[in-house]
């Protein structure tokens, strides 16, 4: 509204402006107050009837969407149980509809929808022919064993053919930890394991038991599974996060950009309005400059990290609450033992050369590369 007045050629003095601000404030306050009073009963009824359920659905959908792509991270972090990946079941073709009995469990004439049907909880796939039996060490103390197809084996436990679900975060956290422990154990024992996400459950289908479904899937996917396992064999996953200081980068960009210096000169000895406008322009220049600087730095770092790793996967940048420590780059690296030292050196150099701080974590199971 002040802009309109400006266009009409009128110029307000400080007093008038303050008055206008006060009046506007009062109007806004009164309006909100009276609307609130008039509609309080309607609002509370509406919120209770319509708003809350919709809000709840919206929130859960948003969270599920946001985390759908990140089951790996959920598994990696012991403090984050990742309850939202619950219900993930393996994409194994399910065609038949005839009821089947579960493997190793007394048949209770289950139908495909029968919640009592027996499924297999899949921890991961490893190379090896010697049977594995870890005893009651799986999720909820389930008996963990191996199912073999040629030279591959699936590490499983027998469970009801439905996802593990709980509203208790602690319970889910324990499950994820159990899952993780088994993956670590297989990794220590077989060297390489292709880990599956928490809550991957194979259902029986039609005449086929869950075990038959699993073997069918392993035979169909054998070549792909084998090449993946070869690819990750002898390698581990590490997380690399690079952080920068926005104020340091801002200073550097400003010192390199002559346009910014000129604008700063121009700003001196001007009226407050002009000064404000020029300051805005400087900030825009700085922002663009920092964006392109960050872009080229990410590119440089990525190239260096890529050269020292067997594979690199770029992950989402996470927001940080610290003002002086913003994430520039987040990636997962697949690294062989001989490359491990090299990557460490590269990261150290990045720290020194650019003044970044680098977080190097791991080794993790290779969730990001399977």
């Amino acid at each position: 509204m002040q802009l309109d007045i400006l266009h009409e050629g009128g110029v307000m003095n400080q007093n008038q402006r303050e008055k206008l601000t006060r009046v506007l404030q009062e109007i806004l306050d009164e309006e909100i107050e009276s609307i609130t009073n008039e509609t309080r009963s309607i609002m509370s009824a509406l919120v209770n009837k319509e708003g809350l359920p919709a809000l709840r659905t919206a929130i859960s959908t948003t969270i599920a969407d946001a985390t759908a792509g990140l089951p790996d991270q959920a598994l990696k972090s012991s403090s984050r149980p990742g309850p939202l990946t619950l219900g993930r079941t393996a994409q194994i073709p399910l065609r038949d509809t005839i009821p089947s009995a579960g493997q190793g469990v007394s048949p209770k004439s289950p139908t495909p929808e029968d919640p009592g049907a027996t499924g297999l909880y899949l921890y991961g796939i490893a190379a090896g022919t010697a049977p594995v039996h870890y005893g009651p060490s799986g999720i909820d103390g389930q008996d963990v064993y191996s199912i073999h197809y040629r030279d591959l084996m699936a590490i499983v436990h027998t469970c009801p053919a439905r996802p593990y679900e709980s509203t208790d975060k602690e319970v889910v956290k324990d499950w994820v930890m159990d899952h993780e422990k088994i993956i670590e154990r297989v990794s220590g024992h077989c060297g390489t394991v292709m880990p599956f996400c928490f809550d991957t459950i194979i259902k029986p289908n039609g005449t086929k038991t869950a075990q038959e479904m699993l073997l069918h899937w392993m035979s169909e996917e054998y070549e792909r599974l084998e090449s993946r396992i070869n690819k990750i064999s002898g390698k581990k996953e590490y997380g690399v996060q690079i952080f920068y200081s926005p104020s340091l980068m801002g200073e550097r960009v400003a010192s390199m950009n002559p346009a910014i210096k000129n604008l700063e000169e121009e700003m001196k000895h001007r009226g407050p309005g002009m000064e404000y406008m020029v300051r805005q322009k400087i900030e825009q220049e700085l922002k663009t400059g920092m964006e392109s600087e960050a872009g080229s730095l990410v590119h440089d770092c990525y190239k260096k990290i890529k050269d020292a790793s067997d594979d690199v996967k770029i992950e989402k940048i996470k927001k940080s609450a610290e003002k002086e420590r913003k994430m520039l780059m987040n990636c997962s690296c697949l690294v062989s033992d001989e490359n491990y030292i090299k990557l460490g050196d590269v990261l150290e150099n990045i720290e020194k050369e650019y003044g970044f701080s680098v977080r190097f974590t791991g080794p993790w199971p290779v969730y990001s590369f399977v």
């Binding site: 002040q2 802009l3 400006l6 110029v11 402006r17 601000t21 506007l24 404030q25 806004l28 909100i32 107050e33 609130t36 309080r40 609002m43 509370s44 919120v47 209770n48 809350l52 969407d65 946001a66 759908a68 792509g69 001007r270 009226g271 407050p272 309005g273 002009m274 000064e275 404000y276 406008m277 805005q280 322009k281 825009q284 989402k316």
Partner: protein, 105 residues
């Protein structure tokens, strides 16, 4: 039955209004800089445009301060940013599209 705290509601509504006003202010400011860059404005016009925007900014800050909603407005804007970021991130990264597939019923 959920109790609705009137003060909370007022804060929320006011916070949202101010967040929107701030976004409008941002847009006005970007437009203003663009006009200045176009070279069509005289120094006097730039000065007046700048001080009007500065006043608007001060008025918004004052209202936020007085109503104690500075933090609320910041949070609302961050949430809005996150929503937009998420949408853009999904749009420009086709490999993430599969994560957002809606199951057919």
């Amino acid at each position: 039955m959920i109790e609705i705290d009137e003060k909370n509601l007022k804060q929320g509504v006011l916070g949202l209004v101010l967040a929107l006003v701030e976004i409008i202010e941002d847009t006005l400011r970007i437009q203003a800089v663009r006009r200045m860059d176009s070279g069509l404005l005289t120094d006097d016009e730039i000065e007046r445009l700048g001080s009007a925007l500065l006043d608007l900014k001060c008025a918004i800050e004052e209202i936020k301060e007085e109503q104690g909603i500075t933090e609320t407005v910041k949070e609302i804007r961050e949430e809005l940013d996150d929503v937009v970021n998420d949408v853009l991130d999904t749009m420009v990264n086709p490999e993430r599209w599969k994560d957002h597939q809606v199951p057919c019923s």
